[in-house]
């Protein structure tokens, strides 16, 4: 792309891009988010490209910029649409059709029927409660959402700057550079009351104000893309699906605090996000939107990408900056805070991906607009990764204050299969559980804190009655212990001991005193751990203990797991009235746990039994069954 040297040139470039996008007779957007790629969308993209190429009637330049010229068909890889449950997804514009669960062999039919003739292939449409949905926007999953941050995800080709420009991209940057002073930018962000989407919910405007106030003139803007919560992928989707929006947010932050360099710290497990960001940065540099004298002003800014080394703890601010510096990723004591001495001991704005992606919209639409969404203390929207026992898993964005009920039933389509709702785990390993009683509480930073959970980075794992809450607690404690940096004693040793106890309980060796010890350890860890991750490490256990203490007690007293999850609680029983005394089970038992006299009923010694099930499958009379 030609270098954009001033404001006028940017508007021209935007206009040109818009015309080109609009001139396409048809745009085929194939989801190239990580989920759909894993489902084979790469193959689908290739097949569609071939089909378009085989068609001699139209001249197209697919995959290389947007489609050019009148009557073209553009085939594009888009970012994540969010409806991952139904992937691979294909959106066809201008009709706005969404085809779900597309397979490479469907491509030919799609091309010849839908693209050429405009027919709808009903088998590929999304159906819910007997109703077919042609247009993506009508699907309840999307209709109930407010997609601001994720607006472009799935709708534009994330690999091309022109596509972003066509949607009005970099208008906010233009506005701040030519119409606002840095202080005005900070004022606008402060007034919007935007709070950090990474989990803490700290005021973004205040953070920027503090950095701008430092006497030190070398300053950094760092974007936290180290999304480590199990099951969370909001930030990944933004980086993959709309990288320029985040870059624009970083540039605005840099302008506001007068920073010269920016770093994006991305998980190494996000290769696609890294690739797309690299491309986006290269394109922005080429276009003169990054580098020296951006748009002809005296604002200069550069962005570097730093790949994480696979540690969850590097999502913590001071561990993240230590990692960029090449040191071991361990949180350090504060003060000094990151805003005073962050990266390379310089004042640093550290925000997460979603926070930065909110910034251009706030600048464009104004703080008041932003505050009109969400709740009073937590304005705006929040993206969540909705997973678990819900019908429509995927990536969603809703106004802050939306209730769990709306998310699970209206957007998520309710509980999968014939299970009943039990709980939602929110905030990953730092969060807690919400139960039926919390269904109608609006989710925002403060309401969740009140009930002992946190929004975290936005993972929502829905659990039904087949989920064992003790096992859930064990899972998160295992994660936390493995990912603890090991620095402070409470987190390193305390979580290890909590994990030991939980492992004991799920393996049927728990004692009732163990529950007291869990609480004792949890209290100590929460009070004394060094960093935020440590302080919240015990939350999953504390909240499950609070709301599901009966399950713990069943495990330790009755040695029962009512959700039939903890296999150690299984009992293989031989029904005396069905057993013929053939001894086949005993001969097949690898643990020597079955004994008896031939022609008389055999018995299983529960202490010796390893619960492998060999006896059950060996029995020809159906005399062996499982009791929980």
């Amino acid at each position: 792309m030609e270098r954009i040297i001033n404001r006028e040139a940017l508007e021209k470039a935007r206009e040109a891009a818009r015309k080109e996008v609009e001139s396409s007779r048809c745009r085929i957007l194939i989801c190239a988010g990580t989920g759909c790629l894993a489902g084979g969308s790469g193959e689908i993209y290739k097949r569609m490209c071939e089909l378009v190429a085989e068609n001699p009637n139209v001249e197209v330049h697919f995959g290389d910029g947007i489609a050019h010229g009148e009557g073209d068909i553009g085939v594009h890889k888009s970012g994540c649409h969010g409806f991952c449950e139904m992937g691979p997804l294909m959106r066809i514009e201008p009709m706005g059709i969404l085809y779900t669960k597309v397979k490479p062999e469907d491509c030919e039919e799609i091309f010849h029927r839908t693209i050429e003739k405009g027919e709808i292939i009903r088998e590929l449409l999304f159906k819910q409660e007997g109703k077919e949905y042609q247009r993506q926007d009508d699907i309840p999953f999307y209709k109930k959402q407010t997609r601001n941050v994720l607006k472009n995800c799935g709708h534009i080709d994330a690999e091309h700057l022109e596509e972003y420009l066509a949607t009005g991209g970099y208008k906010a940057l233009e506005k701040v550079l030519f119409e606002m002073t840095p202080d005005e930018v900070i004022k606008e962000i402060s007034e919007s009351e935007l709070r950090g989407r990474g989990g803490g919910g700290f005021s973004t405007g205040y953070k920027w104000t503090q950095v701008a106030r430092q006497p030190e003139k070398i300053r950094y803007v760092v974007c936290n893309g180290d999304e480590g919560d199990p099951g969370a992928f909001m930030d990944r989707s933004v980086m993959e699906g709309d990288p320029h929006k985040m870059l624009e947010g970083m540039m605005i932050a840099a302008y506001a605090v007068r920073a010269q360099e920016g770093y994006i710290y991305v998980r190494a497990e996000y290769p696609l996000a890294i690739e797309r960001l690299k491309k986006a940065i290269a394109q922005a540099e080429e276009a003169g939107l990054l580098g020296d004298n951006i748009l002809g002003t005296d604002f200069s800014f550069r962005i570097h990408i730093n790949r994480g080394a696979g540690a969850f703890v590097c999502g913590e601010g001071s561990a993240l900056t230590a990692s960029i510096e090449g040191n071991r990723g361990m949180p350090r004591v504060k003060p000094p805070r990151t805003v005073e001495q962050g990266l390379f001991a310089k004042p640093t704005v550290l925000n997460n991906v979603e926070t930065f992606a909110n910034v251009p919209m706030i600048i464009q639409e104004g703080a008041q607009w932003f505050k009109s969404i969400g709740t009073e203390k937590s304005p705006g929207t929040k993206a969540f990764a909705l997973t678990g026992s819900v019908k429509h898993t995927g990536l969603i964005e809703v106004p802050m204050g939306t209730t769990l009920r709306e998310i699970i039933y209206d957007i998520g389509g309710g509980i999968k299969g014939d299970g009943t709702f039990k709980a939602v785990q929110i905030g990953g390993p730092s969060g807690g559980c919400l139960t039926e009683q919390h269904m109608d509480i609006g989710l925002d930073f403060d309401s969740l804190k009140k009930i002992g959970a946190m929004i975290g980075s936005g993972g929502l794992v829905v659990m039904d009655n087949n989920t064992c809450m003790v096992e859930v607690a064990r899972f998160f404690m295992n994660f936390t212990q493995n990912e603890s940096c090991g620095k402070c004693v409470p987190c390193r040793e305390g979580t290890k001991r909590m994990l030991d106890i939980l492992e004991r309980i799920v393996s049927g060796r728990g004692k009732i005193e163990d529950l007291d010890m869990l609480e004792e350890l949890a209290g100590m860890i929460t009070d004394t751990a060094l960093c935020g991750l440590g302080k919240s490490a015990a939350l999953p256990v504390m909240s499950t203990l609070k709301f599901f203490r009966n399950e713990y007690e069943e495990h330790v007293i009755d040695k029962r797991c009512t959700s039939h999850t903890c296999s150690a609680m299984k009992r293989y029983i031989i029904s005396p009235d069905r057993c013929k005394g053939c001894s086949k089970c005993a001969r097949n038992c690898p643990a020597g746990a079955i004994s008896g006299k031939v022609k008389e009923p055999f018995v299983i010694d529960a202490d010796k039994c390893i619960r492998c099930g060999a006896c059950e499958s060996a029995c020809a009379f159906g005399a062996i069954h499982i009791e929980w």
Binding site: N482, E483, G486, V489, T528
Partner: protein
Amino acid sequence: MGYMTINNRRVEFTDEKNVLSVIRKAGIELPTFCYHSELSTYGACRMCVVEDERGKVFASCSEVPRDGMTIFTNTPRLQHHRKMIIELMLASHDRDCTSCAKNGVCTLQALANQLNVSNVRFENYKKERPKDTSSDCIIRDPNKCILCGDCVRMCEEIQGLGILDFVSRGSKMHVTTAFDRPLSATECVGCGQCRIVCPTGAILIKRDMDPVWKDLADKNKIVVAQIAPAVRVAIGERFGLPEGENVIGLLVAALRRLGFDRVYDTNFGADLTVMEESKEFQERLASGGKLPLFTSCCPAWVKYCEQKYPEFKDNLSTCKSPQEMFGALLKEEARANADKESRKTVVVSIMPCSAKKAEIKRPEHFTAGEQDVDYVLSTVEVSRMIREAGLDLSNLKPEAMDMPFGLASGGGAIFGVTGGVTEAVLRRLVGSHGQETLEFISSTGIRGEDGIKEATVNLDEREVKIAVVNGLASAGKLLERIKAGEAYYDFVEVMACKSGCIGGGGQPAWRSSKAKKSRADGIYEVDRTSQIKISNENPIIENVYNGILKGKIHELLHTR
């Protein structure tokens, strides 16, 4: 500057950098494992947690004092948390206390006792890791490590080496060397500063007590002790004597009772070093030799220079260190008297240092195929031997050293403190010998605790630029500046350990910088009260130059 309320009492604070310091100033000894005023604040042990009036718990080591702050240091909640933290540490610790070298001086043990931890409710889950005994100076026992990171920060921040660091995460985290190499295969200089800060028995000095005991009992051996300057002002601490008190007479008495045949003063060896080093410096100045001249008394520094800055190897003085000069002299004397004395002479150096244990094994410290110094015992080892023999230093009557090598100048004595070598050499080189000159030299800026001290002195019409380096990290900084042409010096003294040998890795661990200051005062006291101030005025020196050393000066006293 302001006031805060600690346990309902008003406490003033001035320039304390954290709440912990204010609490300690108020007379409350809040326990810590990972807090050392010399090192960066690490905040990992969480023992120093306090509670504010709203019940917020935070670590006092990492909180800045604010006017009007209200804190409590000993609420039941905090007591519980501290006990539990200790309990958790003990649970994953090799609790073989009775046979641990740190038994009785272990911080973990002391705090467990102080906080009345009476029950450990968890099993040790840790897999036993092998001890690293590869180094001549230091033993690492990972099973005793509580991961406070003190050694890591000491090695990195003060010594600029970074030999040790953390590996792995969560409960698998441990401290080790790069690629888990044995310490002997790393660039560890053996300074032992890691051992000084280690609160448990995870880092220890290598012990050489057993072979010395054996030789002491051997009728066919004459065992000669030499005592380094810094030992006499530190060993008393181990016997409840005041910090920094010069107990040389008591130490001599004790060593005789242990069976040492002769007890000599390494200060005499230092006098020899002053003679040789001054001469070398004068020659280099006169002949345009390689400058700056780096001192070579400190083996940790010598190893550091050779490894990290081999381009400066020729700048190192060719002089042996005091203990080695002295050892070579003693062995030479023994060889000369071999026809009259059939017993074999064994030289044992009593040193404040762990690196000296490696120095004696270097090939340049062998003469006629014989090791010049046979054993190095650290201050701590000697205090243990004294106790093992059932003696208490404080109950003995002081005795004088053996002659002739029990006589030394004040110049030799001050080798034990940073800047001392430089001061002694300047005394030798500056023409006049009056009190005024001595005072002038001591006030040039070479004394004191700064990392890099600079002075300019006129010697024979020439302005001589001097630097005194205190701590290895500062040495690295200085060498980089010299390399970059940003600084020029004629003479550079380097002591690897902060404060000099009084802060050596073989000394009793000090709890505050005040203890080290007392030791330095003790050393200067030795100098102030000695009749001879300048090395060349020591009459024994002249004797040996005209006697044993005749024709063998270079062979015996220099490394190359």
